[in-house]
Subunit: 273 residues, 2 copies
Amino acid sequence: MAASEVHLLDGGTLEMDGFHVFWNRGPGGPVRIPCYSVLVVHPDGNILYDTGYDLDHVLRVLPFEKPLQSEIQTIPAQLALLGLSPGDISTVAISHFHFDHCGGIKHVPDAKVVAHRLEFEAAGNPEPFEVLGYSDLSFSSELGRRRGETGPAGATEIGDRPALELDGRFVPVDGDVEIAGGVHLVATPGHSRGHYSLMVELSGGASLIFAGDAIYTQRSLDLECIAGFHYDPVASIKSMRRLKTLAEERRAEIFFSHEAESYATYLKAPAHY
Amino acid sequence: MAASEVHLLDGGTLEMDGFHVFWNRGPGGPVRIPCYSVLVVHPDGNILYDTGYDLDHVLRVLPFEKPLQSEIQTIPAQLALLGLSPGDISTVAISHFHFDHCGGIKHVPDAKVVAHRLEFEAAGNPEPFEVLGYSDLSFSSELGRRRGETGPAGATEIGDRPALELDGRFVPVDGDVEIAGGVHLVATPGHSRGHYSLMVELSGGASLIFAGDAIYTQRSLDLECIAGFHYDPVASIKSMRRLKTLAEERRAEIFFSHEAESYATYLKAPAHY
């Protein structure tokens, strides 16, 4: 069993500094980056990998990232391009709970949500340098309560807490996981504690790897230069090398998460791989 | 037994981007930062903590850091301000082997050199993002051989290697170490694998803490914002908090490593604490 089709769902753009994109290398200055999600059409049910950012959240909490997102660049509108509605999604798999990847989970309230167990911990109790990354907790009232409030002022307290009690739609996982035939969550920690990349085997034989934030751009891979935003740079380098090796072994194309140049060459919904 | 005097030895300045000084926060743009060393005058022998950068090395390997260092801002000239020569130094303690802290070791060839054992490993086998930091290996021909050459092109190979054989002047240590009465190397890993800060108890009763690159600036401490250059951000935050607590307990002043504003207020050799 393998996936039938893969669609890239456009989610608009954000602006960050070149030093955010290329850690310590830059060059500095504003860089506009795309954000997108991936719909995997599968005989066992449709899977959405990541969900982009929520425009209102970014305008309220991170307006300096200058979001550009039209109505057509939201999850419901992108699904509608394919004749689908949120109810047609059975599983949402999240690379990590940074705001620009989890902001659209709320549009798919009936799907189960698969993510690494450490991402639930991180979102509920981030390091000081992760507070803005994990600022959109709209997808989980329990995580929101744990942080006191959703927003940059939350989560300065570090310490032992009772185990997280998530509602039943959330499925914390660990290690590499095949969430459906030929649809693999590939553990690539470093950018965040429990980051997952996605590898999809298509029924036609091709394999696609969506690096997620393990690799922002082609240059990142070429230079082994991770993003400025990260939890563990040593693990990040290992994860980048793992994806490079995996792509070579599977002869798979790697899709980068946040690069205008490569994104311009990708097929976007309603087109598909 | 405690230290008699502490002298700050001026080592010139370098330029980096604001995103290097304040990780992911900036603001971006050029920031000129001081580099300095610390001479601890002690009844058991004079101790030098850090040694600044070597001008020729920076001009050759990292010219974009635009070094400004006059002849008077070298270790021999700074010692001469105090009527001392390199032969009067018995111990050099190094916070970490980044080029702007180890560049003057070669001026003190007869002193023993104390550093964390992990720093010798890091300098001999850096992560890709550490190669420029550990680019000046002029202090150790063995480390230089291990890297193949001193310079940014070295050390791309990662793997198991035979144990490092250092010549007898090098003293690898681990954990907190009192290297002379009242002179403490305080383990503050994160910026680099084996970073040490320095705490000096003066015979007059005051204690001084030299954070080294565990805390670049006052704003870094206020915001818990580490430098862009780091090995382990989670450990970095812990180390910063450790120094803050230690300073409160000892009522010690914290000296920041790379901030023009605070540096302007510090006493410099020939003056002393």
